[in-house]
């Protein structure tokens, strides 16, 4: 397994618990209080920072497991990376468009921020899934 594939597995392994932590911190509040009283800013910051830090640590561990391959990538890796980013960007765009529509509809900040947040995390997950699938299945540039 190349370092870049390991790196994509790290994103998947980190993203799922990250989303679960956020859901556990915020969803019960949404169900039991008015939105204005829901504390979501700190959990979101905590989750985003945690996601980034866990990804960095995961990549360090992946690099340490085979240091000689950590800086190796070739054309196929780059093509798979571009392909996965293109796929993942659709969800990031969808999240941003949803936020735009919510802002136009003067929705609560909570919904606007969460549309962007979920679009970003879901985009990262979809991107990694697409890349891992490309590493294991047939992958052509056209």
């Amino acid at each position: 397994m190349t370092f870049l594939e390991k790196s994509n597995w790290v994103v998947l392994v980190v993203a799922v618990p990250t989303l679960l932590v956020y859901a556990v911190l915020v969803v019960p509040q949404v169900l039991s209080k008015p939105l204005a009283e829901v504390s979501w800013v700190q959990p979101m910051i905590f989750t985003i920072v945690g996601f980034i830090v866990a990804n960095v640590l995961g990549n360090v561990v992946a690099a340490a497991s085979n240091p000689s391959e950590a800086d190796q990538n070739d054309q196929r890796d780059r093509e798979i990376d571009h392909f996965g980013e293109r796929v993942g960007n659709w969800l990031i765009i969808a999240g941003s468009l949803a936020a735009l529509v919510l802002a136009m509809a003067t929705a609560d900040h909570f919904w606007i921020a969460n549309a962007i947040f979920l679009g970003g995390i879901a985009g990262a997950v979809l991107s990694s899934v697409a890349k891992i699938a490309a590493y294991h299945g047939p992958f052509q540039r056209w």
Binding site: M1, E69, G137, P138, Q140
Partner: protein
Amino acid sequence: MVKPTLVTNSIRSLRFANGEMTQAELADRVGVTRQTIIAIEQGKYSPTLEMAFRIARVFRVPLDEAFQYSDGQG
């Protein structure tokens, strides 16, 4: 669904004909990862023209001895 490539290759037999060269050694000489050589050998990835030339050059054979293009569906 990604269409399977119509490009086939003889890399495996060329490796064995060249002193049972390992995939890792070929990857090293071509300047790609071993996983890319495996994907090319298994027909899961079509190399770029430049990469194909580099692979053929390692075995000192013409390009069409290392790679073939099926004309069945093209």
